[in-house]
Amino acid sequence: MLDVNKLIQGDRRTAAKIITLIENDGEGKQELLSRIYPHTGRAHVIGVTGSPGAGKSSLTDELIKQARRHNFKVGVIAVDPTSPISGGALLGDRIRMQEHALDKGVFIRSMGTRGCLGGLARATKDVVKVLDAYGCQVIIIETVGVGQSELDIMHYADTTLVVLTPGAGDHIQTIKAGIMEIADIFIINKSDLGNTKRIVTDIEQMLDMSPRYKSSWRPPVIETSTVTKDGIENLWSLIRRHFESTRSSGELRETVRNRVCMELMEMVEDELRRHLWGYLNQNGSLNGLLDDLADRKADPYTESRKLVERFLNIKNKH
C-alpha cells in the first residue's frame, strides 16, 4: 500500500496513509522518508501563525484560492492543540476550507500537536516533505493559535506570516522578543473592524529600530479582511515576492542550510540518545547511582560526564 512511486504520481490515498504512518511513528518510517527525501525541496512553504481567533484559517482559505488562481497545486497542514489531559484533539480548521474539498489540486490535512509545545506537531516537518513529494508547489502550514514564544514555524517556513488584529496590545507588545521578530510579512487582519492605524504605526516604528532590515527584506505590514477581501491579492503577491527576493539574494539558500543542519542534529541526538539509554539501562547499573544521587552521596554534574566517557570508551573498543 505505501508505495513512494504512487505518492509521487499524486495518489492521495497513499499520501494520506504515509502521513498517518509518520504521525504514529510507525514501522519503516525512516526508510520511507529517506526514499521521499530526494523528491522534496521544491515547494514554497508558507507559515501562518498568530493568536487564537486572529483569522488564520480564513486567511489560509483565501491563500488557497489565490494559489489555485495561479494554478499551483496546494497542500495545507492545519495544526490544532492536543489535549494534555485525554490525548485527544478537536481539529476544526478544516471548517473554513471545505469549499476546496473537491478540488483535486488541494490536499488538506489536520494534525494534533501530540505533546509538542512549539505551535506545530513533531511530525509537521516530515508531513511537509510528503506533500512536497506528492507534488504540491505551495504548502501552507497553519500553526495552533500561539502566544508569544511558540516559534517552531520560523524553522520550517520559507515565508512566515504573523497575523494580528486591530487593537492587539500596546506599544510595548511590539518591542517584546518572540513572535514579533519572526515575521516576513505582518498581516493586520479584520481590517473591516477599523482602528488599524495604531498597530500599523507601532510595527513600522519597531521595524525602523531594527538594523537588520536595512540590508535585507524588511517585513511589509499589510491590512487584510477576509470579509471584504481587501488586501488579499496584494498579500499573495507580497508572499511570492518575498520568496523570489530571498531566493535571488541567497537568503533562502542560507535558511534551507540552517534548516537541514537543525534537522540533522536532531536526528543525530535522537540516535545517540537511543544508544546511550540502551547502554545505561542494560544491566540496571543506573539503580545504585540514582540512590546515591538522591542521598547526595554523588553529584549529577560529575556522574553525567563519567557515564558518557565510559560509553564512548566502550564504543571505541568495538
Binding site: 490525548g87 484533539a89 478537536l90 481539529l91 478544516r94 474539498a101
Partner: protein
C-alpha cells in the same frame, strides 16, 4: 508511539442543528481520539474527500433532517468507489427503528445511534470496532 483513532464528524445535508455533532466531537476528544469536524451543510462528496485526506478510521454522520436513507448510503457508496471502503461509517440522529434496521442490514452503516444514547456507548463501540494494530 501509540496509534491514535481518528474520526471525522460530519453534518451532511441541509439541517442546521449541529449541537449534537459538537457534543459527540467533544466526547470523542475527551476519550482520547483525534476528531476532525467539518462543519454544517456538507455534501457526501466533500465528506468522502475529507475522510480520505484525513485518513480517518471512522466517519460519523449526524443527520436530523430525515434524509438519512439517501445520505448515509451515498457516503458509503462513494467511500467504496474511492477505494476507501475500509473506513467505518456510523450515524446518529432521529432515525426510525425500521430505517436503522434497513441501513444496517443493507451494509450502509456499521452502527446507528439514536437520541438518548450515552456518550460512553459510542466511545466503547468505536474502541471495540477500530483495529488498533
Amino acid at each position: 508511539m501509540a496509534r491514535k483513532i481518528r474520526v471525522l464528524v460530519a453534518k451532511p445535508g441541509l439541517d442546521g442543528h449541529d449541537r449534537g455533532a459538537r457534543v459527540i466531537a467533544r466526547g470523542l476528544r475527551d476519550a482520547g481520539m483525534e476528531v476532525v469536524y467539518t462543519g454544517l451543510h456538507q455534501t457526501p462528496e466533500q465528506i468522502v474527500e475529507a475522510a480520505i485526506q484525513e485518513d480517518v478510521d471512522v466517519v460519523g454522520l449526524s443527520i436530523l433532517s430525515g434524509a438519512h436513507m439517501t445520505l448515509i448510503p451515498k457516503v458509503t457508496e462513494l467511500l467504496r468507489e474511492n477505494g476507501a471502503g475500509d473506513i467505518i461509517v456510523i450515524g446518529g440522529g432521529t432515525i426510525p427503528e425500521a430505517d436503522v434496521k434497513a441501513l444496517k442490514e443493507g451494509g450502509w452503516a456499521a452502527e446507528l445511534f439514536t437520541p438518548g444514547t450515552p456518550l460512553e456507548t459510542i466511545v466503547e463501540w468505536i474502541y471495540e470496532h477500530v483495529k488498533v494494530d
